[in-house]
């Protein structure tokens, strides 16, 4: 009773604050939590004209893609995993290399200027990035126009299924490698300068300092980024792929996200696509938790504390 009175008094005192926060709270609940509940249709035979409530429960039937070897789903899964692996190997080290290069430049001014140029592509939408790539590397693009005019054979890069994954990876690097340096540069500026000085006194050369001081002090941030990426590892550039899927066909370009879109919203198989999306996000959460545990085992901080 007394608690309730106190709460009421608290509410009276804070009602303006609550009112200020309410629009944001409602938006989050409507567009983040309501869809979470909406995942219920993964267990239903949902049809758009029936509505969510009237759709009959079908148990785990929608999850059949998990065990019946649905070839399209399997293809999407394999493509996703390949892309994750390729991007982890090729995309991850480049921002680190760029950051080290930028950091070893003497002039602060020049460094800033280069940084601003390199960050820029990050702020462009995928539509713009892809349009630019087409104009540069497409069959009628700058590279091929130059080759043809100088009597060289054309190089087909865009719209070729075999090269699609390489193209996606290159685009990701072009767009975000510069932006990726920001966190490494911040970490580099935190490295204790006295360590460098002490090691120099002990006779370490530049390469040894890089190897024994700089890189180890980036280890924590590196692991943090890897964990964060792991949680996203089943999401590999949805907009980027859906925009370029047309000419290459789904065999080489379908990934889990595009499969959910094509199979659900385009194909009308709502229940199964929702089920796939649900499995995907649950695997993502599990991966983050698992990776974080692993980080703790290695004595690193990880994303959150134990």
């Amino acid at each position: 009773m007394q608690q309730r009175v106190q709460r009421l008094r608290q509410f009276r005192r804070d009602k303006v604050l609550v009112a200020l926060g309410l629009p944001g709270a409602i938006a989050l609940i409507l567009f983040q939590y309501l869809p979470l509940l909406g995942n219920i249709i993964a267990f239903k035979d949902y049809q758009p004209y029936l509505g969510i409530n009237d759709a009959p429960f079908v148990g785990l039937r929608n999850f059949s893609f998990l065990w019946d070897g649905n070839p399209e789903f399997l293809n999407a899964l394999v493509n996703t995993l390949i892309l994750t692996l390729v991007q982890a190997v090729f995309v991850f080290p480049i921002p680190l290399a760029l950051a080290l290069l930028l950091n070893s430049l003497a002039g602060e001014r020049l460094k800033r200027l280069l940084q601003s140029v390199l960050y820029l592509p990050h702020f462009l939408s995928w539509v713009i990035v892809i349009a630019i790539f087409q104009q540069m590397l497409g069959n009628a693009g700058m590279l091929n126009t130059f080759l043809v005019q100088n009597d060289f054979p054309m190089i087909h890069i865009i719209g070729v299924p075999e090269l699609f994954k390489a193209l996606l990876t290159t685009q990701v690097i072009w767009k975000d490698a510069g932006w990726g340096t920001i966190i490494f540069l911040a970490a580099l500026s935190q490295v204790d300068q006295e360590q460098y000085e002490a090691s120099a006194v002990d006779g370490a050369n530049a390469r040894q300092r890089l190897w024994h001081i700089t890189l180890p002090s980036l280890k924590g941030i590196f692991i943090l980024l890897l964990i964060l990426r792991l949680g996203d590892s089943l999401s590999v550039g949805f907009e980027q792929i859906i925009l370029q899927q047309g000419p290459v066909g789904t065999d080489s370009s379908e990934v889990l996200d595009t499969w959910v879109y094509n199979n659900g919203i385009i194909g009308g198989d709502w229940g199964m696509s929702t089920a796939a999306g649900l499995v995907k996000s649950m695997v993502g959460v599990l991966l983050v938790i698992g990776a974080n545990k692993l980080a703790h085992l290695f004595g690193e901080q990880g994303v959150y504390q134990k």
């Binding site: 608290q10 509410f11 804070d14 303006v16 604050l17 609550v18 200020l20 926060g21 309410l22 629009p23 944001g24 709270a25 938006a27 989050l28 609940i29 567009f31 983040q32 939590y33 309501l34 869809p35 979470l36 909406g38 995942n39 249709i41 290069l101 930028l102 430049l105 003497a106 602060e108 460094k111 280069l114 601003s116 390199l118 820029l120 702020f123 462009l124 939408s125 995928w126 539509v127 713009i128 349009a131 630019i132 087409q134 104009q135 540069m136 700058m142 126009t145 130059f146 072009w174 510069g178 920001i182 460098y196 000085e197 907009e239 879109y261 919203i265 929702t274 999306g277 649900l278 996000s281």
Partner: protein
């Protein structure tokens, strides 16, 4: 790092050269495409013909015909107007909602703040899923409405946490003295907290604005009528998918139809320019803003 520490050996010129070349290539890979897009958008018919119908690096004969054509009414002009309106309204909504929510949650012992923080944290962790999100937007009757481009992405839970952290590190004496002077919570927010949070508001506002301007997927998902298209959908249709731009799709102010490629590149440029304009402002603040996020998030 501007002055070399005394213990550091003088740089090896060969190594410096290799490093400079590597960085130079990286920078050129970014600049050349931009330059070429702009140059082509300004090229006239003979220049385009001379390049075999492809992109140019230098517009021999300069013509602003392409810009005249797309900006004098018609599909592109309308899409630009829509994108500008969505970006401005969306950013205002986002900033109001985000700072309001963050302000509510920043007080210690404020009514309802503790459970709500958990709600926000949960929203950071779990993504809602494509199809259920689509169904919610549909159920709310937002399909084919510009609100579908704003409301679902209006509040970014992570941004709320960043802003809350920022508010919490403001000195508590400020709030106490304001309360003694009889200021209400709303007055404190508008008169004291927000003016002190300009940097974080600027970064967040610009990030939100860039998001609204670039919105492609939500537009593709939710906007059905072609006359409601924002610029990203126009870009996809006429530039990425290379649909021919007809005379009836540009405004009456176009005297003669310019060649297709400069038209396409001009659309690309007008989609780019707002980003290039806000970019310097963004730059000034984002290192700081991003770091607040990285440290406190």
């Amino acid at each position: 790092m501007s002055t070399r520490p005394i213990w550091m050996e003088p740089p090896n010129p060969l190594v410096q050269l290799v490093k400079s070349i590597a960085l130079g290539i990286a920078v050129l890979l970014v600049i050349v495409p931009f330059w070429s897009v702009i140059a082509t958008s300004l090229a006239d018919q003979p220049t385009i013909d001379a390049s075999g119908g492809g992109m140019v690096l230098w517009p021999g004969g300069v013509s602003i015909g392409a810009y005249k054509a797309i900006l004098s009414g018609g599909v592109v002009t309308r899409a630009l107007t829509i994108s500008i309106a969505v970006t401005v309204v969306g950013t205002l909504f986002s900033l109001t909602a985000t700072s309001g929510l963050a302000y509510w949650l920043s007080g210690r012992g404020t009514f309802g703040a503790r459970p709500m923080v958990l709600v926000v944290l949960g929203a950071v962790l779990f993504s809602p899923g494509l199809i259920p999100s689509y169904l919610v937007v549909k159920q709310l009757g937002l399909l084919d409405s510009w609100w579908s481009l704003i409301l679902p992405v209006m509040v970014n839970a992570f941004n709320v946490l960043v802003m809350r952290a920022f508010f919490q590190q403001l000195p508590p004496e400020l709030f106490e003295s304001a309360a003694i002077d009889g200021a209400s919570s709303a007055t404190v927010l508008v008169r004291i907290v927000l003016p002190l949070s300009k940097a974080v508001l600027a970064v967040m506002g610009l990030f939100y604005a860039v998001g609204y301007w670039n919105a492609f997927f939500n537009a593709m998902l939710y906007i059905q009528s072609t006359d409601k298209w924002p610029i990203s959908l126009v870009l996809r249709t006429f530039v990425v998918n290379q649909t021919t731009i007809g005379g009836d799709q540009v405004g009456a102010g176009a005297e003669a139809m310019p060649p297709q490629l400069p038209l396409q590149m001009a659309i690309l440029v007008v989609a780019l320019v707002p980003i290039l304009i806000v970019y310097p402002f963004l730059q000034k603040h984002f290192a700081k803003g991003v770091m607040i996020g990285a440290v406190k998030g």
